[in-house]
């Protein structure tokens, strides 16, 4: 039986940039063992020498001519912005106070 502790889930949540509540961390860690056991069945098959498939259509280097085509106006591009200023996206502070 696989398992994942509350702290393991907290670490994954931090990597995934989701600030989960304590209740969410505990619920997920209680469900994870069962889910991992189910998906671990992929390891029951002998996969020596089998090539991986990342994509159903083998395609390489799809190109197009480099020509100017219509694109979004600045107003349209910013239309969904949570905050904007001077025709730009306004975002929260990116660098720390001391930097």
């Amino acid at each position: 039986m696989s398992s994942l502790s509350r702290d393991d889930v907290a670490k994954l949540a931090a990597l995934a940039r989701i600030e989960m509540t304590e209740a969410e961390l505990i619920e997920l860690s209680s469900q994870f063992g069962m889910i991992l056991d189910a998906v671990a069945r992929v390891q029951d098959v002998n996969l020596d020498g089998v090539k991986p498939t990342s994509h159903p259509q083998p395609m390489l280097n799809i190109t197009r001519p480099d020509v100017v085509a219509p694109s979004l106006s600045p107003e349209d591009a910013l239309s969904g912005a949570p905050a904007q200023e001077d025709q730009r996206f306004r975002v929260p502070q990116i660098l720390g106070e001391a930097e």
């Binding site: 969410e24 994509h55 259509q57 349209d76 239309s79 975002v91 502070q93």
Partner: protein, 498 residues
């Protein structure tokens, strides 16, 4: 009028027996009458629909040449961007967002004169099999309002099966068109991967996602398929080839001499008795029409579900990183001094639902160093084995068949706390997605024990989508003549004027 097929409606429009405005209004009235019970729609665009209908009527009056589905109402799954119309993918993180552009599917529908009446409910980001994971509440099955319509395209399937629209668009990453079609007694097709552009389809799992049509008949579904399919330079995985002749195939419906392969692994144990009975009965009908039934072996399908629930969450954990609270969508906690990272973390917790978080965490785990080879890497190799199983099976048969889902529609809330039980409902549909081929579900009748619809699944090789329609049309005609009326005539009227 609303009980007619889309093909019949199109015929009435071309003969001048009705107008698109009248047809659209009749469907808007039906939505007003029944959707408070079914909850198929997240947004109804009454103004936009009536404007499009009026424009099509004006063109027709001038004698302009119109596409076969011009003026016909349609419901669009909320996973597809439609310019200026709220598009959420069922997620609170996108509540209020109005896309500044059209998805290619929406653009093609508009260009063909199809009337998009609204956006339909779905499991958040298409992650789910019951529409219960929507951030805006579940959709209810028109056959029994205490049951789920399936998912993730449950809103689209429920809209068509309750006569709110004759046609709808869904998307199918692991069965999300075929399974709800099965559970609501309609036809749904997942086209070959790359046959319909993914541009503007909000991504869940990019190597598996594919939009496709719903209809109440095989021919209606084919007519819609032809409108949305085709190469698109905006999608690098779009196939640059002619669209298979699906409408011609739906009109021919001849299966004489065709080899139909029954997949040994997708029947029997684990399948509800009434589902298996209807499936076996349909096989006999196909044999009586001159098809040759053979059994095929796909031993690696046993591992398809496990591979899917590693590949899809892995791709999702990457795709959903774009919801960062910076350029569009929800932003929470943007107070003085809060860092961008803190705002992102809080917003993603507030905006994503339980199942989406579960899959992002699972995907993050499967892709993390130390586990990558054992989980994601192994799943990719299983994918190769499934493609090889299909290749061997298609060497023996022109199409493959199975029940679409192991059970009929289950009760709302029945599986919501048991993710593995929910995932098992996709066992027969997932192999198609992993291999990138095409599949159809069409109604095979009602299960004896509960009187609910059963789906019959047909699968064909990549870019042989016309075979689905050929076999589907033959089976549909045989079943209809046996029943004496289409299956949906048995569904409750829901109190609205029908």
């Amino acid at each position: 009028m609303i009980n007619k097929t889309a093909a019949e409606m199109a015929d009435a429009l071309s003969k001048g027996e009705t107008t698109s405005l009248a047809l659209t209004q009749a469907h808007l009235d039906r939505i007003s009458a029944v959707d408070s019970k079914v909850k198929a729609f997240l947004h109804v665009d009454k103004e936009g629909a009536l404007a499009q209908a009026a424009s099509v009527d004006a063109k027709r009056a001038k004698g302009e040449k119109l596409s076969p589905l011009a003026g016909i109402p349609l419901a669009l799954k909320d996973v597809l961007a439609q310019k200026g119309v709220p598009t959420t993918a069922g997620s609170k993180i996108l509540q209020g967002w109005r896309p500044p552009y059209d998805s290619t599917v929406a653009a093609k529908l508009k260009a063909a004169g199809v009337v998009i009446v609204g956006k339909t409910n779905m499991d958040e980001f298409a992650m789910g099999s019951s529409t219960e994971n929507s951030g805006f509440g579940p959709t209810f099955n028109p056959w029994d309002l205490t049951r789920t319509p399936g998912g993730s395209s449950g809103g689209s399937a429920a809209a068509v099966s309750s006569f709110q629209t004759p046609l709808a668009i869904g998307s199918d990453t692991g069965g999300s068109i075929r399974q709800p079609a099965a559970l609501t007694g309609i036809v749904g097709v997942r086209p070959t991967y790359g046959a319909v552009s993914r541009y503007g389809l909000i991504a869940y799992s990019s190597s598996l996602d594919q939009a496709g049509p719903f209809g109440r008949t095989v021919l209606d579904t084919a007519l819609l398929h032809e409108v949305i399919a085709g190469h698109d330079a905006h999608d690098a995985t779009s196939i640059n080839a002619d669209v298979p002749a699906v409408v011609a195939a739906a009109k021919s419906g001849d299966v004489k001499g065709l080899k139909i392969g029954v997949i040994k692994q997708l029947q029997g144990e684990g399948y509800q008795k009434g589902v298996q009975t209807r499936f076996d009965e349909s096989l006999k009908l196909l044999a009586s029409l001159g098809a040759e039934i053979v059994e095929v072996d796909c031993p690696n399908f046993e591992y398809a579900l496990a591979a899917y629930y590693l590949i899809a969450p892995s791709e999702a954990s990457s795709n959903l990183a774009r919801f960062d609270a910076m350029r569009y969508g929800l932003r929470v906690g943007d107070k003085d001094g809060a860092s961008a990272e803190a705002v992102m973390n809080i917003t993603r917790d507030a905006g994503f639902g339980r199942e989406v978080k579960r899959r992002i965490i699972l995907g993050t785990y499967a892709l993390s160093s130390g586990y990558y080879d054992a989980y994601y890497g192994s799943a990719q190799k299983i994918r190769t084995l499934i493609i090889e199983d299909y290749a061997k099976a298609f060497a023996k048969a022109d199409v493959l068949v199975s029940p679409t889902a192991p059970t009929t529609a289950y009760k709302i809330g029945e599986k919501v706390d048991d993710p593995m039980a929910m995932y098992l409902g996709d066992v027969a549909t997932i192999p198609v997605n992993l291999a990138g081929i095409c599949g159809m579900s069409l109604p095979a009748g009602l299960a004896e024990e509960d009187g609910l619809p059963v789906g019959f699944q047909i699968m064909a090789p990549a870019m042989q989508d016309q075979r689905l329609y050929q076999v589907g049309a033959a089976l549909e005609a045989a079943l209809n003549s046996k029943w004496g009326a289409p299956i949906l005539s048995n569904a409750p009227s829901l109190g609205g004027a029908a």
